[in-house]
């Protein structure tokens, strides 16, 4: 253990330079976010992840956000265990019919103001699962979505860019507004 710890102390951190916010995400976010709400929250957002039928590929990459390379928490973003503690719902999957009610109830359980980020191609429109009897197809058909992050699955860097766009646009507009 000593060697591992000492190495951690003397080496440069693995955390990489923060990426610029995603332009497309900024554009999507510019429309329809509640400015007053953003001012209250500043740069810190608590995220509750909800798998609404994903293949678990997106979950793997969302998990990776917490590793030493991406170190999500340095941006004031952290994952929380309950929707009651969350500002952001991060939803993956094509929304299976068996998960529709659970997703809707999780949304209701999240206090206002809140945002929904849909991660992955399935969450946009059902992806490869669109058209099945068991799938609703797209998160926005169940709860309102503020930001879509595309990819199958989107790599952590892409998810991070989207989230940074969320906090950045929150901050800018809060200062302006």
């Amino acid at each position: 253990m000593r060697k591992t710890l000492i190495e951690s102390l003397i080496r440069r951190p693995l955390a990489e330079a923060p990426p610029a916010p995603d332009e497309a995400a900024l554009k999507e976010l510019a429309e329809g976010l509640d400015r007053a709400a953003r001012r209250r929250l500043g740069r810190s957002l608590a995220i509750r992840e909800v798998d609404a039928g994903s293949c678990n590929g997106c979950e793997l990459e969302i998990h990776a956000l917490s590793n030493a390379f991406y170190d999500l928490e340095r941006f004031g973003l952290r994952f929380v265990a309950s929707p009651r503690h969350a500002d952001v719902l991060m939803v993956t999957g094509p929304v299976t019919k068996n998960m529709r009610e659970a997703l809707a109830r999780t949304y209701i359980a999240t206090p206002d103001p809140k945002w929904v980020v849909a991660v992955g191609d399935c969450a946009l429109d059902g992806g490869v699962f669109a058209g099945s009897y068991a799938v609703v197809g797209g998160v926005s058909s169940v709860v309102p979505v503020d930001l879509h992050i595309r990819g199958c699955p989107p790599p952590p860097a892409a998810i991070l860019k989207g989230l940074i766009a969320l906090v950045t646009s929150t901050n800018h507009q809060a200062v302006r507004g």
Partner: protein
């Protein structure tokens, strides 16, 4: 006597590489008797609108066969009545096809939560409008028992499912799982799909095993169409499969330790996992290597720079990983949590035919790479890791040793990789056949079965090892404390998506 002769019945010619026979009720009954006596192992059980298939394995000879019973009356003798591992297969089959397993001891629905708007979506479809019925959990009786309902939305970044604990104080008396929340109707999407689309769907059955599923599907298609992937493609496939195994084992080892509140291991293993995924991305253009394996070969070759990236990765992993293993082994507080908790008895692992680290930590040394085996593993040296303790610690150690094996395998693959083409045209147009494959993923053996008609998928069934792991988790938690459930659950790391389909 060969397995096929023991089963009897009428052989179906178009089924490869293992035989399929259509049996009558007596033949089906004889098979059930062999399963319940432990002479054969159930690999899977799945349906069609008018027939039920059962894949069985003879553990001694590693022979595999599929038996089919035709259900003219819409029913068949239940396997689960005498052989418990089949119960959930049959509940799912009844939900999807409407076929009745006669004598099935558990009549409750499994995947069908009453929310699809249809009944029997793959059989005789009927519209369904009524409100979803309440699900009756199994009872547990006794003084001062209480229930803890958990899920489907869990506290972490995990897939959805419901766990119903009945506890006496801290001790779990009964755990009952309710799954099916991520059922996406994969089998229905496969029907009529062209091969390239079907391969993409297969690769998204369980994202953490995308390479394994793509490989299993491709091998089943190749068997059905009587084609073989070029030698270089088989090496590239094995390379991707071992990278996937490494990444997942690193993730699991870290996450298990984290659930015992030892976050340092999570951080360190997370670094190794990330390095592995980045190397995969550099070599194959996708971190999880999705859609890189296709029927007929692979879609992406390995360049000289790619090989150099992998050698550098091997060097780094071999430098750091042994130190983490030592850390795991020497931390008493961690061992205190993992040793002797969540025990799966060897008899149970054998009865359920548990694969992967769940089976291999409980004395069942089955590895599809060795037996029945597939190229290029017949050309490579590796050992099947087997431990007997069956606890969380044993499941961690199986993973640790498999990491070492995979590192050696990757080294051998890089050294012996033949030159040549990486893909042959599947040439599927107007061709038909049935094929099956068994491929070893990080979690265990994934079974793929496919019927191709005129170059399109007519039927496809994909079977995740989690089907047979989930029931063992229920058994493993009994008598443990509620607080150890996350740890024990993580040591299984069952797939929800792979199970729910």
């Amino acid at each position: 006597m060969a397995l096929i002769d023991k089963i009897g019945g009428v052989k179906v010619e178009a089924h490869r590489p293992w035989p399929r026979v259509v049996v009558n009720e007596a033949g089906w009954g004889a098979l059930i008797a062999k399963l319940s006596a432990g002479d054969l192992t159930l690999l899977g059980l799945w349906g069609e609108p008018n027939a039920v298939h059962m894949a069985v394995l003879d553990e001694e000879t590693a022979e595999i066969a599929v038996a089919t019973i035709e259900c003219a009356q819409g029913s068949f003798p239940s396997v689960g009545a005498l052989h418990r591992p089949a119960i959930r297969f049959e509940r799912a089959l009844r939900d999807l096809y409407g076929l009745i397993p006669e004598g099935l001891p558990d009549p409750r629905p499994w995947l069908d939560h009453g929310r699809w708007g249809v009944r029997h979506p793959l059989g005789d479809r009927e519209d369904r409008e009524e409100k979803p019925p309440l699900y009756a959990f199994l009872p547990a009786e006794g003084e001062s028992l209480h229930q803890i309902p958990v899920g489907p939305v869990h506290a972490g970044i995990i897939e959805p499912g419901h766990f119903r604990f009945t506890a006496n104080g801290e001790t779990v008396v009964r755990l009952e799982e309710r799954l099916g929340y991520v059922h996406k109707g994969i089998e229905s999407l496969m029907i009529g799909a062209p091969l390239d689309k079907a391969a993409r769907i297969a690769g998204r059955t369980s994202g953490d095993s995308t390479v394994t599923y793509a490989l299993a599907f491709a091998r089943a298609v190749e068997a059905a169409l009587k084609i073989e992937a070029p030698a270089r493609a088989t090496y590239l496939r094995a390379l991707m499969a071992e990278l996937e195994r490494l990444a997942n084992h690193f993730g699991d080892i870290g996450a298990i330790c984290n659930d015992a509140s030892f976050a340092l291991m999570l951080a360190q293993c997370g670094i190794l996992r990330e390095r592995t995924l980045r190397a995969a991305d550099a070599c194959f253009g996708h971190r999880l290597m999705m859609d890189r394996i296709v029927p007929g070969g692979v879609a992406h070759d390995l360049s000289a720079e790619g090989a150099a990236t992998l050698r550098a990765l091997l060097h780094e992993l071999r430098r750091v990983f042994p130190r983490l293993v030592e850390l795991y082994d020497n931390t008493a507080s961690l061992q205190d949590r993992t040793a002797a908790s969540g025990v799966v008895r060897p008899e149970l692992a054998r009865q359920f035919g548990a694969g992967g680290f769940v089976g291999r930590a409980s004395g069942r040394a089955f590895d599809a790479r060795k037996r029945p085996g597939y190229p290029p593993y017949d050309q490579l040296k590796f050992d099947v890791v087997q431990l007997d303790a069956g606890d969380v610690n044993a499941r961690v150690w199986v993973r640790i040793r498999e990491v070492d094996q995979s590192l050696n395998l990757i080294e051998q693959i890089l050294r012996h990789m033949p030159a040549g083409p990486i893909r042959i045209e599947a040439g599927a147009e107007a061709r038909s056949g049935e094929g099956m494959a068994l491929v070893e993923g990080f979690r265990g053996d994934v079974l793929a079965w496919v019927r191709i008609e005129s170059g399109r998928v007519a039927r496809c069934h994909l079977l995740d090892p989690s089907w047979l792991h989930w029931p063992l988790l229920e058994a493993a938690i009994e008598g443990n404390i509620v607080a150890d459930f996350p740890l024990i659950n993580k040591s299984f790391n069952c797939s929800y998506s792979g199970h729910d389909l």
